[in-house]
């Protein structure tokens, strides 16, 4: 611990407040439809499976929430052995 940190400990409460504000703003938006990621994953899978055989564990849905922008990334690994096109959508 540096001398400066010892003299003036950093206040952690404002960090807690800001984290809560960002988190709750998000959670309130999706209240009543709690598992957005799950729903997206299932529906995307259904569409893909109509055309290509894809193992369920080869579909990755990730979300990264930021203060102003959130990103949703969907990675689908399609096996080339089936003779169809290999594609990755994001």
């Amino acid at each position: 611990m540096s001398l400066l940190a010892w003299i003036k400990p950093r206040a952690s409460a404002p960090v807690a407040r800001d984290r809560l504000k960002v988190l709750l703003a998000y959670e309130r938006t999706f209240r009543g439809q709690p598992d957005l990621i799950g729903i997206l994953r299932e529906e995307i899978m259904a569409v893909i499976c109509r055309h290509v055989a894809v193992p369920p564990d080869k579909v990755q849905v990730r979300m990264d929430r930021g203060q102003t922008v959130s990103t949703l990334a969907i990675d689908i690994e399609i096996p080339t052995s089936h003779g169809t096109l290999a594609a990755t959508g994001s």
Binding site: A11, A16, L20, K21, L24, E27
Partner: protein, 271 residues
């Protein structure tokens, strides 16, 4: 007209049972008739905190299943003759509670008491939703700490959606009770302060219970803190909160346990 109050929080260990006992006893001390109902089926503790653990014969589940009549299950407090307890079952699980059964018991209790205070289990599942189901008002117990605040926000959402009042287009009156507050740490920026919590949750404040050694002492001896040590900071906080719940206009203060008793005026209330 009886008022049904649920004491809830989402998160466990924030002080629901302590607050149920404290508020229940404070309301009973003011001469109103109060029944506190333990909804934590399988993990009952309100009986222990009230010092009635050796007097439990029948419980809420027995009444719901028709094994016992309501008066047989009600336990009168030995110190306060206006305070009664309806204990939870310790041997069953939460599925033993039926929606119709709970509705019937609450309706019967409303005939007999001025206040029906439901001590909710932690979580957001059946026991918790049934405890809040028939509430006219809710006390949301929150610690000034991130996980407690987040879970309180979730519970507030449920109170606005899953209660009988909400489903009929009405509103459950919500009251925020901040417990385990440490004014010195909040002043140093080490703990969320009252304004932070009020701004985030947007629920009117009903009381601030400071972190107090008296709370543990009271539960050790099986007595609500308002009876065990009425002069303690926590007891005064609960008494003030109970008066506010009963509609009195009591200035918001943060009682302290210091030797020289002083109360700091806390002027602001949330919307």
């Amino acid at each position: 007209m009886a008022k049904v109050l649920v004491v809830t929080s989402g998160k466990g260990g924030v002080g629901k049972t302590t607050s149920t006992a404290g508020l229940g006893a404070a309301l009973a001390q003011s001469g109103q008739t109060v029944v506190v109902v333990d909804f934590d089926v399988g993990l009952r503790n309100l009986d222990l905190v009230l010092g009635a653990e050796r007097r439990v014969v029948f419980d809420l589940v027995n009444v719901i299943q028709g094994v016992a009549k309501l008066p047989q299950a009600l336990i009168r407090d030995k110190r306060l003759d206006t305070l009664w307890l309806l204990p939870a079952s310790q041997t069953r699980d939460k599925d033993a509670l039926t929606s119709n059964g709970v509705a019937r018991v609450i309706a019967e209790l409303k005939q007999k008491f001025d206040w029906v205070i439901c001590d909710s289990p932690a979580g957001i599942e059946r026991g918790a939703t049934l405890a809040m189901r028939h509430a006219d008002a809710a006390v949301i117990v929150t610690n000034p700490e991130v996980s407690s605040v987040r879970d309180s926000d979730r519970i507030i959402g449920l109170l606005d959606a899953k209660t009988e009042k909400a489903e009929k287009g009405g509103r459950v009156d919500k009251h925020l009770l901040i417990t385990r507050f440490d004014a010195a740490r909040a002043a140093r920026g080490e703990m969320l302060n009252i304004d932070d919590v009020l701004e985030i949750l947007s629920v009117p404040l009903v009381g601030i219970v400071p972190e107090s050694e008296e709370v543990l002492r009271a539960s050790n001896v099986g007595s609500p803190v308002t009876l065990c040590n009425p002069a303690s900071a926590a007891a005064r906080a609960y008494c003030d909160a109970a008066r506010r719940l009963a509609g009195e206009n009591v200035p918001m203060t943060i009682p302290t346990d210091k030797k020289r008793l002083f109360t700091k005026l806390f002027g602001r209330r949330a919307a």
